[in-house]
């Protein structure tokens, strides 16, 4: 540890203390009868949207995007575009019906729609899988942040962060308190926006220098190179990101907080705006990095561009302050996303696994014990994998999580919401096909298997083949088993698609 570590440490401490303070304040926010009616007002769409943004914008968005753009150029813009556009798909096709279904988690939706506990269990398994795939890069990113901020060895990061998240989750510190998550969004936005503004002013003062290397031809092409393979990779990424968002367990549970389908839609609309506002800034960092941060690319440290750039461009107190701010933002990014995911995964493990093992010692005691056990499992597995696996890049492993979600939950939700003839057998077969396809590719990626040419591309970006495969399997098996279509399907779909205004009138 050295003097450079001070702003980072102060920032990390400040984030932790503020988070706990807001959590506590939110918890103690009691009302007396004089302002009764305030108490029963539901969370409004703007606040809820901020909270979704807070939970959604992970280390991959905060750190990864700028680094990817710096190295890979304009084709990497598809990451922020896809992460935002996913909410457009969610808004148009899923948000309101999903809320009207009354489901809290994705397994809940499967059970409500298909009336099958087997499909429910399959979904639980997939939630855990997607959650772990998404948690893994959070821990990796946290390792990078700590390494950059206080100079700790890389293995220390995931371990410390794992413990922090575990304590946080088990103590109930962040249990999806809307205020805390909303605060995290605005913190992350400020931590990116203010330094970006300041650094742009510095750049203007420098006389607007261009990239030292000069040739920006390939860098500014929005499609990966290598001809047809590059095109496939780009399209596959787009599919994964556009369609994977709806299958993220920690995002879906937040929609439950909306009082009705209309509010769910309005929330999604605001989320689109907030994400758009946020994703303007990582490319700014990347562009400035092209000018001032060439050595980071040479050293292979592009992922920490956001953290290092203030120091590279400004010396003295200003640089230190901005470094502190971006470190705070990065810490908030992994803390909120990792906690949200860990809670979602532990929730599923509690409901479907550990509560059956933890004995019959009275409901309250055993529920708490089962949740703690589940939290330990939920956090320790990805931490172990993060320690063992080679670093495959924060944003890329997030993309794998999206690919699995797009190949499993996307067909389930789309067909479940829009197609009356979906059967439990069809859903199960589709989930298996998509899950094994995309999940298998993800596991091969993690253990370091790399092909060449088309093989490598199909493996690294599975969504373009595994998503259609899952859709086709689900449709064909459902058509082959028409007798298994749940009897309440028609009624259920009517409920999903009836606007609340009509319901109240009727």
């Amino acid at each position: 540890m050295n003097a450079d570590a001070v702003p980072g440490l102060v920032a990390v401490l400040a984030v932790t203390v503020t988070t706990i303070a807001i959590g506590t304040w939110g918890l103690r926010f009691s009302r007396t009868t004089s302002d009764f009616f305030v108490a029963s007002r539901t969370v409004n769409p703007r606040l809820n949207a901020s909270a979704i943004g807070g939970e959604y914008l992970s280390a991959a968005s905060f750190l990864g995007v700028a680094g990817l753009l710096l190295v890979g150029g304009a084709e990497m813009l598809w990451y922020p575009v896809g992460w935002t556009a996913g909410y457009l798909v969610l808004l148009v096709l899923v948000a309101a019906p999903l809320r009207r279904s009354g489901a809290y988690t994705l397994p809940d939706f499967a059970e409500a729609r298909l009336g099958s506990t087997v499909v429910r269990s399959a979904c639980s398994l997939l939630v855990v899988g997607v959650g772990w795939l998404y948690l893994l890069p959070q821990f990796q990113g946290a390792g990078l942040t700590l390494e950059s901020a206080i100079g700790a060895p890389r293995w220390v990061g995931p371990l410390i962060v794992g413990v922090v998240v575990l304590v946080n989750v088990m103590s109930g510190g962040m249990r999806s308190i809307t205020f805390v998550q909303a605060f995290q969004y605005w913190l992350k936005l400020t931590a990116l926006l203010v330094p970006a503004m300041v650094l742009l002013v510095v750049w203007l003062d420098d006389g607007r220098p261009g990239s030292p290397s000069g040739s920006d031809g390939a860098w500014s092409v929005p499609v990966a190179g290598e001809g047809a393979i590059g095109l496939y990779t780009t399209y596959s990424l787009i599919i994964a990101l556009f369609l994977g968002t709806m299958g993220l367990p920690h995002v879906v549970v937040r929609f439950y907080t909306n009082p009705d389908g209309r509010a769910a839609r309005r929330t999604t609309l605001v989320v689109l705006g907030l994400l758009g506002l946020f994703y303007v800034w990582p490319p700014v960092f990347a562009a400035l990095g092209r000018v001032y941060g060439r050595e980071l690319v040479a050293e292979g440290h592009a992922d920490v561009l956001v953290l290092e750039l203030p120091r590279l461009m400004m010396s003295g107190l200003g640089g230190e302050l901005l470094t502190g701010l971006v470190t705070a933002g990065a810490f908030a990014a992994f803390l909120s996303t990792a906690s949200g995911l860990a809670i979602a995964v532990s929730g599923v493990i509690t409901q479907d696994v550990t509560s059956r093992f933890v004995g019959e010692r009275g409901p309250t005691a055993s529920v708490a014990a089962a949740f703690r056990l589940a939290a330990v499992i939920a956090v320790s597995v990805p931490v172990l994998v993060a320690l063992l696996s080679t670093n495959i890049g924060v944003a890329r492993s997030v993309a794998l999580a999206f690919a699995v979600a797009a190949s499993t939950f996307c067909p389930l939700l789309m067909l479940g919401i829009w197609w009356r003839r979906l059967t439990d057998a069809g859903a199960l077969a589709g989930l298996a096909a998509g899950g094994l396809g995309a999940g298998g590719a993800a596991v091969l990626n993690l253990v370091g298997v790399e092909g060449s040419g088309w093989g490598a591309a199909l493996l690294a970006q599975p969504a373009a083949w595994s998503m259609p495969l899952a859709f086709a399997t689900m449709v064909l098996v459902s058509l082959a088993t028409p007798s298994r279509a749940p009897s309440h399907a028609r009624r259920f779909l009517v409920r999903l698609h009836t606007p609340e205004v009509l319901e109240q009138a009727g």
Partner: protein
């Protein structure tokens, strides 16, 4: 043409006898499996089987014994308890078993109870007792017959369960209607409002509107479920009216996590608890002792929501609360048993009420509700 009065072949007559014995045992069994009903049904069942001795047990003890070898009676219960214990060998639960002489130690010479057949009584997939037939030697025929009798008895008990649940449902309906709004409350509220009409007409008007809204919610006829937000809104109106009556003697704190407001709950599942807290907790307490304090808290607990209703009143004997929860209608806390029954019926036995109380120590009622349960929607 057959002669009138002729009862057919020997086989036919055996069938008639069996059916007759069964019809004799049936009324008793339709009351459910108790010591009393078992006692009345057992001799018909033994005649049906034609064994020297027959026992009916629940999962832990002997309910009735008929025939010779009465000194074996306690053993029957022990055998049932052993076979049906949750720790027992899983594959044998719910299956017919034979009992060897070693398991029936006996010092009486010439005792007919040497071996036996034990067949379980299954209601709703749950083993609730056994039929045990004893004889000097068992035959395959006896095993088969015992099994058939056990199945028939199970069927009768299932019907009994159905009757009971139908009665319970009707009772719950009636109780729910009663719990919705008490005549005292209407009388007291209108009295309190009347007292404001001259001194503070604006407040009187507001209270009257609150009263109208409260009654509209409570009298609504459609829908078994509502959202926690709706339920809390109605509770707020109720408390405003009660505060108009009690003034400073009733202090209320609400602490509600906004995340749980969309949770779907059975209609009027919290309001009776609040009414109970006000009635028993505060009205019964000594006014000189100071203000009564009521606290309503709703937490977000991941896939569950937890609602707590707490008062600092006189408290209650835990034994009385236990009886109220068990459905003892003789007690005053009708709301408690009703809410508990409806929560269990909706979400399963894991979601009953938890009541923490002791005389003089106030009362705290805890309701847990899952955020999602199949079939539970507004």
């Amino acid at each position: 043409m057959r002669r009138r009065g002729h009862l057919g072949t020997e086989a036919d007559r055996a069938t008639f006898r069996a059916l007759h014995q069964a019809s004799l045992a049936s009324p008793a069994l339709r009351e459910g499996l108790t010591a009393d009903s078992a006692e009345r049904a057992i001799k018909h069942l033994r005649t049906l089987l034609g064994t020297p001795a027959l026992a009916l047990t629940d999962t832990a003890s002997t309910l009735a014994w008929d025939g010779s070898g009465g000194h074996h009676e306690p053993q029957a219960g022990a055998l049932a308890a052993m076979l049906l214990a949750p720790t027992g060998p899983e594959p044998t639960r719910g299956w017919t078993r034979t009992v060897e002489p070693e398991q029936l130690p006996c010092s009486t010479a010439g005792c007919a109870v040497r071996t036996g057949v034990i067949s379980p009584l299954v209601v709703d997939g749950r083993v609730i007792g056994t039929v045990q037939a004893y004889a000097a030697t068992i035959t395959a025929g006896l095993v088969r017959a015992t099994e058939e009798v056990a199945q028939w008895v199970s069927g009768q008990l299932e019907l009994a369960e159905l009757d009971a649940s139908r009665n319970r449902a009707m009772e719950a309906e009636v109780q729910a209607l009663r719990a919705q709004i008490s005549p005292h409350f209407i009388y007291n509220s209108l009295g309190a409002i009347a007292s404001f009409v001259r001194t503070d007409p604006d407040r009187a008007r507001e209270l009257l509107l609150e009263f109208a809204d409260f009654t509209r919610y409570s009298f609504r006829r459609h829908g078994e479920f509502t959202t926690l937000a709706e339920e809390l809104r109605s509770i707020e109106r109720y408390l405003l009216l009660e505060q108009a009556r009690f003034g400073d003697r009733l202090q209320v704190t609400l602490n509600v996590a906004p995340e749980v407001l969309p949770v779907v709950v059975p209609f009027l599942c919290i309001q009776p608890l609040v009414e109970n807290a006000v009635r028993h907790g505060l009205e019964a307490s000594d006014p000189a002792k100071g203000a009564g304090h009521l606290r309503i808290v709703a937490h977000d607990r991941g896939h569950e929501c937890v609602v707590e209703v707490e008062d600092n009143g006189v408290g209650e004997d835990p034994e009385k609360v236990r009886r109220a929860l068990a459905g003892d209608a003789a007690l005053d806390s009708v709301g408690l048993g009703n809410v508990d029954a409806r929560l269990r019926a909706t979400f399963g036995d894991d979601y009953g009420l938890v009541v923490e109380t002791a005389p003089g120590a106030g009362t705290k009622v805890i309701v847990r509700v899952p955020k999602f349960a199949p079939g539970v929607t507004v």
